[in-house]
Subunit: 361 residues, 2 copies
C-alpha cells in the first residue's frame, strides 16, 4: 500500500513511523526542502497547488491523506479526480473554515459558544452588540496555535479589529468562561465503524498546546462521543478526527475540529493500545480498526522552540522522546515527551519533572 501525504512535517513523520511496519510506503508532497518526514519516504518538493506535482503524487500512490486541514480546496478537488482522498473534500472544506464548522455544530445540535459570520466592520459592530464583550475575533481560515485571532475586551479593541486581522472573512465568538479544555480523538472506518480514545485534558501556553493528559473515566466521555459521532456521521468521515471542546458548567461547548491526527493525540503512541497514527492509516486503507484503550496513565508535553537533551528527557522514568528532526525556532513544535505511569501520582510527579526541563529552555 502506497500512501500519499500532503505535508511532510511531524504528523507525516509519525504516520510513516506507524505505517512502515505495516508494509506501507509513503510519498510526501511539501514545498519545504528540509521537511522532516522526507527521510521516511519519497519527497516531492513542490507547492500544494502545483498540478504537475499533484499528478505525480496521485500516480505514485493508492490513496492520499492530509497532514493539515488548510490545504487549498482546488488541491483536494484536483487529487480527487485521480485517487481516493481521505478525509473527503467536504470534511476538509468544513474543517478549514471556522464559520462553516461552527454552523455544522449548531445544525447538529452540538452546543457552541455564540458566534457570528463577520465579512465587514459593520458585521463586527452588530455582532458585538448581540454577543457582547469580551469576545474573540478569528479569521475563518488559516489560523492555528493562537495565530489569526484577537481577543476583544473593550469597545476600543473592536474599532479596527476587522482591518487588523487583514479584512478577511472572520468569525466572532462569544467568550466562554471555561474551566478546562478537552479533546476527543475519534476514528471512523470506511465501514462507518467508529471508535473513541479517552478524553484528553489540554493546557495551552500562549495559545500553543503545552500539556495533554489522557483522562480516566471522564464524566463527559459519553456526551463527547455522542457529539463527535454526529459530526463523523454527517461528514461520512474516514480517518482520525480530533474534536476540541471547552468544559463549561459541567458540560461541553464545541470549539473546533481537526480532520487529521492531532497534537493532543500524540500520547497514544505509547499510551494506547493502537496509536492515532496507526489508527488513521488503518481507517483510510480499509483495514480493521485498532483498540483505543489506554494502557497506562499517560501524558504528553510539547517541546516548543527546542528539545531538551535526550539524556535529560530519558532520565525521567518511563519517558519517551519524540524528536521531530526539525530546525529549532521560537514558537515551533519541534518534539514531544510522552510519559507513562502506573498511577496518577507518579504521572503528576513526572509531568512536573518534564515541565521543569522544558521551562529551563
Amino acid at each position: 500500500m502506497k500512501i500519499g501525504v500532503i505535508g511532510a512535517g511531524q504528523l507525516g513523520r509519525m504516520l510513516a513511523l506507524a505505517g512502515i511496519p505495516l508494509d506501507m510506503k509513503f510519498v510526501f508532497l511539501d514545498p519545504a526542502p528540509d521537511a522532516c518526514a522526507a527521510v521516511l519516504g519519497q519527497h516531492i518538493q513542490a507547492e500544494y497547488t502545483d498540478q504537475n506535482a499533484l499528478r505525480q503524487l496521485a500516480e505514485a500512490v493508492d490513496l492520499v491523506t492530509f497532514e493539515f486541514e488548510s490545504v487549498p480546496a482546488e488541491t483536494v478537488a484536483f487529487l480527487g479526480q485521480f485517487v481516493p482522498v481521505y478525509p473527503a473534500a467536504e470534511a476538509l472544506r468544513i474543517a478549514r473554515d471556522r464559520w462553516l464548522e461552527k454552523s455544522l455544530f449548531r445544525d447538529l445540535g452540538i452546543p457552541t459558544p455564540e458566534f457570528a459570520n463577520i465579512l465587514s466592520q459593520t458585521d463586527l459592530n452588530q455582532a458585538v452588540e448581540r454577543i457582547g464583550l469580551p469576545a474573540v475575533l478569528k479569521t475563518r481560515t488559516l489560523g492555528y496555535d493562537g495565530k489569526g485571532q484577537k481577543v476583544l475586551r473593550t469597545p476600543a479593541d473592536v474599532t479596527e479589529a476587522f482591518a487588523d486581522l487583514g479584512a478577511v472573512p472572520c468569525i466572532l465568538e462569544g467568550f466562554v468562561p471555561f474551566t478546562g479544555e478537552v479533546s476527543l480523538i475519534a476514528v471512523r472506518a470506511r465501514s462507518g465503524e467508529t471508535r473513541f480514545y479517552p478524553l484528553v485534558h489540554n493546557t495551552h501556553i500562549e495559545g500553543i498546546l503545552h500539556l495533554s493528559i489522557a483522562s480516566t473515566e471522564h464524566p463527559l466521555q459519553a456526551k463527547a462521543e455522542d457529539y463527535v459521532g454526529r459530526v463523523l456521521k454527517q461528514l461520512d468521515y474516514v480517518g482520525v478526527l480530533a474534536f476540541e471542546f471547552f468544559e463549561v458548567d459541567g458540560g461541553l461547548k464545541a470549539n473546533e475540529i481537526a480532520p487529521r491526527v492531532h497534537n493532543s493525540g500524540h500520547w497514544t503512541i505509547e499510551g494506547a493500545e493502537c496509536s492515532q497514527f496507526e489508527q488513521h492509516l488503518r481507517a483510510i486503507s480499509g483495514l480493521p480498526l485498532g483498540s483505543t484503550a489506554r494502557r497506562c496513565h499517560s501524558a504528553m508535553l510539547n517541546c516548543i522552540g527546542s528539545v531538551p537533551s535526550t539524556e535529560q528527557v530519558l532520565s525521567i522514568a518511563d519517558a519517551h522522546l519524540h524528536h521531530y528532526g526539525k530546525a529549532f525556532k521560537a514558537g515551533r513544535k519541534v518534539g514531544h515527551i510522552s510519559l507513562c505511569a502506573s498511577d496518577p501520582a507518579t504521572l503528576e510527579q513526572n509531568i512536573s519533572l518534564a515541565s521543569n526541563l522544558l521551562a529551563q529552555r
Copy 2:
C-alpha cells in the same frame, strides 16, 4: 547522533524505527541491494570485509553496532581503529564461536550441557564415548536457525559427521532432555548498570523460532539474571544481549548468547515499557536505560516465508503486524505478529488465532 549498523535486515530496520524519534540517524553497511533497513537511512552496499566501505562507514557515524554476531573479526578490529564499537570485539569473538561461548559459561559457573571441542573425526569419536548419544554436533561458528548442526542418535550417525558438517571446527553437545526453552533479554549500560526483561518462553518449529511468550513471575527469573549478569560483567558488555537457556529439572542450562537485539525480544516493542531496540540504542549511546517492565500479557509469532494479509492479522484484537518489507522465501523470517492482552486466557486465544493464520500459509 549517527549510528552505523553492520547489517541492514529486520533488526537494523527495527533499530532505526526506534532511534529516529530520538533524533538518531542511521548508516547501514550490507552487501544486499534490497536490504530491508535501507529505507530508513543511508545504505553503503558493500561486503563486510571491504575496508574502503568500512572506512566510509566509520567516518560517517559516531559509533558502530552490529545486527548479527558472525561478522568477521577483522571487520570489528578494523572499525575499532576509527570509531567506538558496541558490543566490543571480545564479546563478538566469544559469541560467534560456540565452543568459546560454552567455555566461558563453564568458567563462570553457569550450568551447560556437556560439550567438547571437535577439530577432527578422532576428537568426535572420543567425545561421543565420553558424552554418549544422542548428542548434537554443531559448527563452532556461523550456524543459526538450526543450520550447521546435526543430531547424532546412533553410532552410524557419528561415522561421517565431522566431514558432513564440512570438516570445520565443531562442538559436540550432550543431548539435554529439556522441558522448555527460555531466553533472557538483558541490557547493560556503559556505566555497568544492568536491566533484565521478564524471561521469555520460546517454541521452535524446524529449528526456527515460532512463538515467544513473555513470562509473568517465572520462578527461574532470579537465577537467569544471576547467570546473565556474570557474562555481561565478564565481557564488560554494552548493549542488549540475549541469553538462551534450556529448562531442565526445574533448573537452567545455558544454550547460547546473541550479542544483539534478538527475535525472542520483539514482543518488547508493544509489550514492554521500553523496547529492546530503544534499549540497545540507549545503552550504546550512553543514554539512561529504559524500563524493562511488561505492560501487558504479551506474545510474538514469527511469519516465516510469507506474511498473512494485513487485514487478517489486524482482525485479531490487539494484534500488531511488523512486516519487514523483505522478499518472501521459504524459511525466511519476513515479519512478526505481536499480541497484547489484559489476561493470559485472552492471550492464549489470540495466539491460537494467529497461529492458525500462519499455518494456512
